[in-house]
Symmetry: C2
Subunit: 338 residues, 2 copies
């Protein structure tokens, strides 16, 4: 704020322009909000709150302010809206369109590693075009959750010099929209994939070679998720490995990846992380890499809580104290002395 | 040595009794010495030095003195004997019997995770009965490499109050000699299994529950190997997770598990580790647990080198400096600050 711009003039201006939103959110996410019907060996929920943007935003809101750009139908329950806004997640860019909300149904097998999709009703999602309002365009952290890469690109086009951009995807787009995916991949800083997607997209069996092939396209960081085996972060500053948190009774893996992304970007936004322009050896020692390692631990911690309950149940109850305790648990799990 | 036992009398006594071996080895291993024919997508070797005891002893000899209790046939090449004795591995308890040495042939598929056994010719192994000489019975560290659990029990019967005993096994014994395996499992301190074996033996899908079920039988420590995903160590002092070292070009996984065991027990023998009798919380803070964590890192480091070459090629050339460098590499891979 400069001396010739008094606070009493500036605030109302922004207020009127942003329809109630006084400040830019720290994080903007574009993705889905849906109603999930999920069956696992441990129970079943019907039309529960789901979607990549919901999981991501609930996770990230533990750390930072988040705004969602998405769409719902007329049937979207007020109670679910309340679950999100109670965490101060900005929903003013979530369009409510005539018709039904996106619905997905799936069943997990006994080991929770394999799932069968029972139905996917896109409904109002077919009409989704991401439109970021002015404050969202200025958000320093941008997450392009798993949707059609053409829509991810449209959202990214509207962002104004974000500090860090991150993208998630899935095999559907790798198989059917490869070129569009490659176009948007080239433009982001961090790519989140699982090991199968990394192999399928690059044709490299080794996840290390696959991560390098993706980084060669432009992204500075590639995070390869390996399910129960944890995650690998590959950057110019070297690899970082984190195991999966040892859960004896995971109940519902739905949304684990989006919760992971929320913990990661939420933490980075809370510490104002920016990736410096430097080469490998210098980057390895740069404080930003220490932040990125911590962010991956937060990502895993938040995801580990998310899968202990159905739908977003665990995320809406999660406290910073619980996160800190499990963060220390991760340290006990992994550290050793020389 | 006591005052009434002059050194000039004692040494020749021991010498004559031990046929050239003046001192107890730090480690005694009973297992196989074999001739392996191995084909991977990266090459092929024929009748190369193999067997669980060979890999283990070469790995452990980087740290401590090792004696092998095993058997070979008349065809066992002098050159292979020389590879072992050059590392001061004691072979005086390796019987040379009429007939052929144990031979195994296998082919690995493109991802190196799946292998097909082409032949298993037990040959002189069918006549193997482990007989530990006096000095070996006094060895403080005992490794029962993967053989028939009845033979493992016979070897263990001969050990006199060892400080630490460790056992490896395989699915064959889980399926066909389950009771004998359980009997010997109950008597050792450390059990080494891979995730599939842990699941098969216990019937628990979760490796954490499986490790607990094995510890409930008696072993203080269970190490679950997860191939490229690393290893989990479960003890009363908590879990310790270590990722697999990121190898872009592994060539031959044969002997990885035995090299892993050799690095683990070799390191513990070199620091004189003993497991204290105490409960979980106190054990977690005890220096012995820090040694055990370091030992698992050494295990992974040595195994990571072993798989970069065919047969025992990498192990016979490996130096402590290379091990230390990769140990530091593991620290960079896994550590984070609070």
């Amino acid at each position: 704020m400069t001396a010739d711009q008094p606070p009493d003039r500036r605030a109302p201006d922004r207020h009127s322009r942003e329809s109630g939103n006084l400040q830019s959110p720290r994080i903007v996410v574009t993705g889905t909000i849906g109603l999930d019907t999920v069956e696992t060996p441990f129970g079943k929920v019907e039309a529960a709150l789901g979607g990549s943007a919901s999981y991501f935003a609930l996770a990230a809101s533990l750390y930072s302010s988040v705004s969602i750009v998405s769409v719902v139908g007329e049937d979207f329950p007020a109670g679910y809206q309340e679950l999100l806004t109670r965490r101060r997640i900005d929903l003013t860019s979530v369009a409510r369109l005539p018709g039904q909300t996106f619905r997905w149904g799936g069943r997990y097998r006994y080991d929770l590693n394999t799932r069968d999709t029972l139905f996917t009703d896109l409904n109002v999602l077919t009409e989704f075009k991401p439109v970021l309002k002015e404050a969202e365009r200025a958000a320093p952290y941008v997450f392009l959750a798993n949707v059609d890469p053409a829509l991810q690109a449209q959202a990214l086009d509207q962002a104004r010099q974000p500090r860090l951009t991150m993208l998630d995807t899935m095999n559907l787009w790798i198989e059917h929209s490869r070129d569009a995916l490659t176009d948007v991949l080239r433009r982001v800083d961090v790519v989140l994939v699982n090991d199968e997607e990394a192999r399928e997209y690059t044709g490299e069996y080794s996840v290390f070679k696959a991560a390098r092939a993706i980084r060669d396209l432009g992204p500075r960081i590639v995070i390869v998720k390996r399910g129960e085996y944890g995650a690998i972060l590959a950057s110019d500053g070297g690899y970082f490995f984190l195991p999966g948190y040892p859960l004896e009774d995971p109940r519902d893996p739905t949304g684990a990846g989006d919760s992971f992304a929320g913990g990661f970007l939420g933490y980075l936004a809370s510490v104002d992380m920016a990736l410096p322009e430097m080469d490998g050896a210098a980057l390895a020692r740069h404080p930003s890499m220490a932040s990125i390692r911590r962010a991956l631990v937060h990502a895993s911690v938040v995801a580990s809580f998310a899968v202990e309950q159905f739908s977003v149940e665990a995320l809406v109850e999660l406290t910073p104290e619980q996160v800190r305790a499990r963060f220390r648990g991760f340290k006990r799990l992994t550290h050793f002395d020389e």
